[in-house]
């Protein structure tokens, strides 16, 4: 089956032919179905008309004879009732009846028991034809007590003349049975009392013979039923008078048969379709006059529709074989018509295998297949041409790719490759990475040392690819040349901006961060031109505050502002381009600043803020986030850690406390220990007081109430001074910005607060506040040697 289906699927000719034949078959079936239905109805109607005609004819004939018997009986009744007291006349009357109606079977004029006292219990004047003569006798006896017979009882009980159920009358002398029915009517006396019954019998043999011979179809037959359903005519003679139409239903219920029986009993006329002896039959039935009998003609469906069925079979066969023939020829014709297509397909395969110059078949046809062949030839030519062009384009592309690869090498070569690390340098260590999204990128970073200063920059050129890479190269060259003579970052940026803006015809711009780190002091001067603010990772993680300057290359007259920050020893400046925060995973979700901060915080916790470690952690996190998604933008990161230790520093310690004043004793111990180590125990008390004042201030006010936070206290001592630096990440607060307390006023007159910082100022020689990123940094310095001392 699957093979056949597969064959059909692969053969267009078979498929098209099947469709055509299928449609033709559907149309044939619909048309023939309608025709057959109509024809069948016509045949059925004809059968009905035919059966009805026969039934009507027989019924009319029966009625005619019955009427005659009824008329004769009425006349006899009239006579009898005129002379009810003359029993011997009854013989004459009964004999007369037969004389006048030789086709009648017999006639009885029977009386009630002992009606004629001198005649005894029985008196019935009975006449019957015997050969050509009429035999008239007295019919009642002990063995034939007529007054118990149906014919005698019925008219009196029904109180009207009536026909009895047919019965088989046995004639002993001839030993024959005759089927008869009797018309009975009562004889009444003057008082209306029933005194006897006149019985006129008719032989129904002629009727049964007539009905038996009714054969509208070769296998049809007729039946006649009495009131009680008894068969009086039936092809199976064993059933006649012995069985009723309901007999078989006593053992095996047959609803169709029972319904037919009841309909015939009720004297209905009609037709029923049913199964008889396993055959589908039509039964047409009609009552026979007033006898209470009913006649039916049973016609097997095969007879009625025999001719019709033969015709139908012949037509169906013709249609079937016609369709088969049609299918065969269609397949042949379509296969022949499609043969050039097959050759074309073969040639197409040859072409597909790479032989573009294969010779196509020459078709001298102007139909669709010819057109297809011509189109195919055209296509072949176009294909050869296209392939040639493609080859050249591919060669060009390979050349460009080679160039790009070289350009990438050159671009990477521009970037610093050796990164200073401890112990090569003791003041700073640097690491950077640049991963372009394409062969070449628009990100840049650079750094160099000059005059104990570190000059560095990171930037991002708008756009990607070759244009961006060219601008990047220019920007980097300009940075090198400008920074070689200019030390202030804002000036460097300004000059670069002008230089780039002048040659910027393509409206490209560069976000740029330029910083100059004074390596001795940790002072950082910087200028940010629209770049992402770097992170400072030291005691905490925070962003370096950046002014909102526009990127360079856009407005040559823009006045870029200079900013300054202090970088403590151990702090790492983490610079990056938006390729980091905007790195996207497969769902186009961005890495975002929050994750950068988290990675930085984790690195801080693990004390892995060394530049290479930090950048590797960050790269790992970004790659994990991006997964298999394609890199969307250049990714550049640079980390600079300031590690310079002051030469004269003889003490450097750090204490981190929670913002809880219960921790003050620890602070005091820390200060006392520092003083001891710095050799200034003499001023321990004052320093404790000043530091405690400053730290408690931070503990109380830096963070919102009930919010935990840290306070970092760093102590640094040289021979000539001791410095405490208090760092927190709370709300920006500059205690030095408060006005000096007017100590000349009384305590009541002074405003609340401000006394603490006043005290600190009094004790310490220098109090300095700065806000670095998210950190408040308060430095308290006490000179140990008087500036005036030698």
């Amino acid at each position: 089956m699957n093979k056949l289906l597969s064959y059909i699927r692969h053969k267009l000719s078979v498929r098209v032919s099947l469709w055509v034949v299928l449609f033709a078959a559907v149309i044939f079936i619909a048309a023939l179905g309608f025709f057959f239905y109509q024809a069948r109805e016509a045949v059925r109607q004809e059968a009905y008309d035919r059966a009805t005609q026969i039934l009507d004819k027989i019924s009319l004939r029966v009625e005619g004879i019955l009427n005659r018997a009824e008329v004769a009986s009425n006349m006899t009744q009239w006579l009898v009732q005129r002379h009810p007291d003359q029993p011997d006349s009854m013989f004459v009357y009964s004999r007369g009846m037969l004389l006048n109606n030789p086709d009648f079977y017999n006639c009885s004029i029977a009386f009630e028991p002992y009606h004629f006292p001198d005649k005894g219990r029985y008196f019935s004047a009975y006449s019957k034809y015997q050969a050509d003569s009429i035999r008239t006798i007295q019919g009642g006896s002990d063995n034939y007590q007529y007054f118990f017979m149906d014919w005698y009882l019925m008219p009196a009980l029904l109180d009207r003349p009536c026909w009895t159920e047919p019965y088989m009358d046995f004639d002993a002398p001839t030993n024959t049975y005759e089927m008869v029915t009797s018309y009975c009517q009562t004889i009444k006396d003057k008082a209306g009392k029933v005194i006897g019954v006149i019985n006129t019998s008719l032989s129904l043999n002629w009727l049964s013979q007539t009905i038996s011979t009714v054969k509208p179809y070769p296998n049809s037959y007729s039946i006649m039923l009495g009131r009680g359903g008894t068969y009086f005519v039936h092809p199976d003679t064993a059933k006649i008078t012995r069985q009723t139409i309901f007999t078989q239903s006593l053992e095996q219920p047959d609803t169709a048969m029972t319904a037919l029986g009841h309909a015939m009993q009720r004297g209905e006329e009609g037709m029923k379709q049913m199964k008889l002896d396993g055959k589908d039959c039509y039964v047409f039935y009609k009552p026979l006059g007033q006898t209470g009998c009913s006649m039916a003609i049973v016609c097997p469906e095969s007879d009625i529709f025999g001719g019709f069925d033969r015709l139908r079979r012949a037509v169906m066969n013709i249609v079937f074989f016609g369709l088969l023939l049609m299918l065969f020829f269609f397949i042949r014709i379509i296969t022949r018509e499609l043969s050039p297509l097959r050759r074309l397909a073969k040639e197409a395969e040859t072409i597909a295998s790479g032989q573009f110059d294969a010779q196509l078949p020459e078709l001298q046809r102007t139909d669709e297949i010819g057109q297809l062949s011509h189109s195919f030839a055209d296509m072949q030519q176009s294909l050869v041409k296209y392939i040639g062009e493609l080859k050249s384009t591919t060669a060009q592309k390979a050349s460009i790719e080679r160039d790009l690869h070289i350009a990438s090498g050159i671009q990477m070569g521009m970037l610093p490759k050796s990164f200073p690390t401890w112990p090569d340098r003791d003041d700073v260590q640097i690491f950077a990475s640049l991963v372009p999204a394409k062969e070449v990128g628009g990100d840049l970073f650079d750094f160099f040392f000059r005059d104990e200063r570190l000059f560095f920059c990171i930037g991002d050129v708008s756009g990607k690819g070759v244009p961006a890479s060219l601008v990047m190269a220019v920007t980097r060259s300009v940075f090198r040349s400008v920074a070689a003579r200019e030390s202030k970052p804002d000036n460097i940026v300004k000059i670069m901006n002008q230089a780039l803006a002048e040659m910027n015809e393509n409206n490209m711009f560069v976000t740029l961060f330029v910083g100059v780190l004074e390596l001795n002091s940790g002072r950082l001067l910087y200028c940010n031109a629209g770049h992402d603010a770097p992170l400072l990772i030291g005691v905490g993680v925070g962003e370096l505050p950046c002014s909102s300057n526009i990127p360079i290359g856009v407005m040559p007259s823009w006045d870029y502002s200079l900013q300054e920050a202090r970088i403590f020893t151990g702090t790492t400046i983490f610079l990056f381009t938006d390729g980091l925060t905007e790195a996207m995973d497969a769902d186009k979700a961005q890495f975002r600043m929050e994750r950068v901060n988290d990675v930085a915080a984790q690195a801080l916790t693990r004390k892995q803020t060394e530049p290479r470690q930090l950048i590797e952690s960050m790269s790992t996190a970004v790659h994990a986030f991006v997964g298999d998604a394609e890199q969307s933008d250049d990714l550049t990161m640079m980390a600079i850690q300031y590690i310079k230790k002051q030469d004269d520093v003889k003490l450097l310690k750090t204490l981190v406390l929670p913002n809880d004043i219960q921790e003050v004793p620890r602070l005091n111990d820390f200060v006392q220990e520092a003083c001891l180590e710095a050799g200034c125990s003499d001023i321990t008390l004052q320093l404790k007081l000043a530091v405690e004042e400053a730290v408690v201030n931070v503990m109380n006010y830096a963070y919102p109430p009930a919010t935990p936070g840290d306070v970092t206290i760093e102590v640094q001592a040289t021979d000539c001074r001791i410095q405490f630096t208090i760092i927190d990440s709370g709300a920006p607060f500059d205690p030095t910005a408060r006005p000096e307390v007017d100590t000349t006023l009384s305590a009541l007159e002074r405003p609340i607060g401000g006394l603490g910082i006043h005290l600190v100022r009094q004790i310490m020689d220098e109090v300095r506040y700065e806000r670095s990123g998210t950190l408040n940094i308060l430095s308290l310095t006490k000179n140990l040697i008087s500036p005036n001392s030698p």
């Binding site: 019919g139 006896s141 002990d142 063995n143 034939y144 007590q145 118990f148 017979m149 149906d150 014919w151 009882l153 019925m154 009980l157 029904l158 009536c162 009895t164 159920e165 019965y167 088989m168 009358d169 046995f170 004639d171 002993a172 049975y177 009131r227 009680g228 359903g229 008894t230 059933k239 008078t241 012995r242 069985q243 009723t244 139409i245 309901f246 007999t247 078989q248 006593l250 053992e251 029972t258 029986g261 009841h262 009993q265 209470g292």
Partner: protein, 318 residues
Amino acid sequence: MKRALYLFIIWMTAVSQASGEDGTIVFTPQWTAQAQFAGYYVAEAKGFYREAGVDVRIEHPSATQPAMSRLRAGECHATTLQLCQALEIVDGDIPLVNILQTSMNNAMVIVSARGKDPLTQRGARVGIWSVGFGQLAICMSNKDHLDYRWVRFAQNVNLFVSGALDATLAMSYNEYYQLLQAGIEITDKNVYRFCDHGYNVQEDGVYMTRQYYEQHRDQARRFAQASRKGWEWAVEHPEEALDIVMQYVNRDRIATNRVLQRLMLADVLRLQVDRESGRREFRLRPDMVQLASRLMHEGQMLSREVTYAELTDNAISE
């Protein structure tokens, strides 16, 4: 209608009377040939009578001729009678002996036309057999003040089917099925079964005049035993028994069929099983004799109560 049959019977009777003298028991069932008498046909056909050393000839009456009239006229020596008929006859001064009782239950029913309950049909025209079955129905009609008007008919159910009667008496094994066969609808509502209303009186038994019996006691006993054997064989072989019945039916050209006869045989055999003991007892029950006798006496159908002893001979009933 049965004139021809009547002529045939006359002819048969003439033959039988001639041969009755030679010790042959002429046995007349009380109706035309049918499965009601299957046991006797079996006994004859299977040679049980011959084996028992008794010569039996079965002769049927005509439809309008009571079997008893044949007995009375000496046309036969044994006949089947219903118990009530036997009581009537004994009361009429013809002593009878029951030599074999087959029926243990009453089979009579009343079927009403048009689906009506027979007990609501006061004054209805009810068909009754002209040959004299149906005594219990008359008792019941009187007792329940139904005042049925009895219409005596010869045979078959044509009168009822033609609508001339309001109801008809029927035997559950015979007319009842004929009615069904005529397409009459019978439900629980339009049938009254006497056996379920305190009239469960035995029916068919084989009787002889006491005079004949006294003279042929041994022959009678053997006849009864062979007949009983015939019935027992019919119980064991109902289809073969039916074949035999159909031979008798066909010989007498009785207008019936195998289906009806099969139903009849099954019902007759069912009626032979005593309700209380669940067995085929083949005996007259004194209590039923007493019940029938009392009912008929009360209904003034008997001048006196006939006793069980009057119907039996100890030698047989033991």
